[in-house]
Subunit: 218 residues, 2 copies
DNA sequence: AGTGTTGGAATGAATATTCATTCCGAGACG
DNA sequence: CGTCTCGGAATGAATATTCATTCCAACACT
């Protein structure tokens, strides 16, 4: 009995009042709704960082967000959809923060400093978000689109690196290796600070940037 | 004639028959017991790497290890005790592989190469174990002793780094930052290869070693 | 040696708990 | 007063852990 088919119509979207972009000031109701969605995302992000995806219970997320457990399912189809929404949103924020207005014509030294410092700015201002992205890198419950978001950023940076190598301003070798080395070092810097309960200071970021530049320059 | 000085009197430990090694032919029994413990550790390590701690069900571990679910509780008090046993065991293996017979009197360049290449050797020969250690770094279910094992290794390397800085052969700065940077880069190299389904070749390790040396040398 | 006894390792179905998801009555809003 | 959002108890599946039972190798005693 009870065929697994969902008798209820699929309300596809969480049925947010679908606010026309025509209500500029009076956002009372919509604001509340929107705030709930944000509260759920924020609470889930924090808990996923603390205990991991499988270690976090949905009702816990609801409690921390100050909403009922059922409310979460008004905004997200499932726990997996929730974690994917967080991943995509943060990854795109990160990607935009690093790549928007990228100085494509600057020299390699400048380009590297730009990328590094923008990553540092994002990571310092959004420590939990950055750790979340780190922690869920390649997790089994990420869907194809979430992976695509990641891949898009990777492709862009790969092109930048390859171009710099062609100009002989970076060491020759597999671009993926160089990028993995840089990103790994970046994460290592954060972790070494977080392990002591601090977030890296600007001076730390600048110091590490110089170190890693010397690692990859030709 | 087989001094059976082993009456029934071992209530606390899993009570491996522990018979005097005087019955070469009958080693069967003890072998079986010991193998079960190993089988459980191996199966759990693999599954924890694949699905994470919370994502892995204890009966799954039992199936993979080829034992009954209850048997796991003859060897480990709980799922957490099991993950801690794996962590401690692998961390100590890693620590020994890197630090045993450390060339304390070699110059800094040699010392760095030694540490890096020994880490590479361990990581390449024990990919799942290394990923396990990475994945469970600072996990909430690790107990105090597991953390202590980690700390012990860290303290030793910190001393080496500090000494090298005093000789002005490494860049000045917080040793933790330098170490985090190096370890992070190391992990980044592994990940960049694993993402493509390969393990780093010797040439990759050597290349990365040279890069990172240039990052930290004074 | 042959036979009976026994301690305790091994098992896996049973239990109690926890979890993701659903459901529906109660309000808020217009 | 109809419509729509919330909350949180209800539900059923899944999970960690237990425990009554089976099984076997090593004595004990002939």
């Amino acid at each position: 009995m009870a065929p697994p088919s969902n008798p209820r119509s699929r309300p596809s979207q969480p049925a947010i009042p679908a606010g026309r972009a025509s209500q500029p000031a009076i956002a009372g109701a919509r604001r509340v709704v929107s705030d709930k969605r944000e509260a759920i995302l924020d609470a889930a992000l924090a808990l996923f960082v603390e205990r991991g995806f499988w270690g976090t219970a949905v009702p816990e997320i609801a409690d921390r967000a100050g909403v009922g457990a059922g409310t979460i399912y008004r905004y997200f189809d499932s726990k997996e959809a929730l974690v994917n929404a967080i991943y995509r949103g943060q990854k795109m924020r990160f990607s935009a923060g690093v790549l928007d207005d990228f100085p494509a014509s600057a020299n390699t030294r400048e380009q590297f400093r730009t990328i590094w410092m923008r990553m540092a700015r994002f990571a310092s201002a959004n420590v939990p978000a950055f750790i979340f992205l780190e922690l869920h890198h390649h997790a089994s419950y990420l869907d194809a689109e979430s992976r695509a978001v990641e891949q898009r950023m990777l492709d862009i940076i790969t092109a930048v690196v390859t171009a710099a190598q062609a100009r002989r301003e970076l060491k020759a070798g597999d671009p993926r290796l160089l990028m993995g080395l840089v990103l790994g070092a970046f994460i290592g810097v954060i972790r070494s600070c977080l392990d002591v309960g601090q977030t890296p200071a600007d001076a730390d970021w600048a110091f590490a940037e110089q170190c890693i530049w010397e690692a990859i320059r030709s």
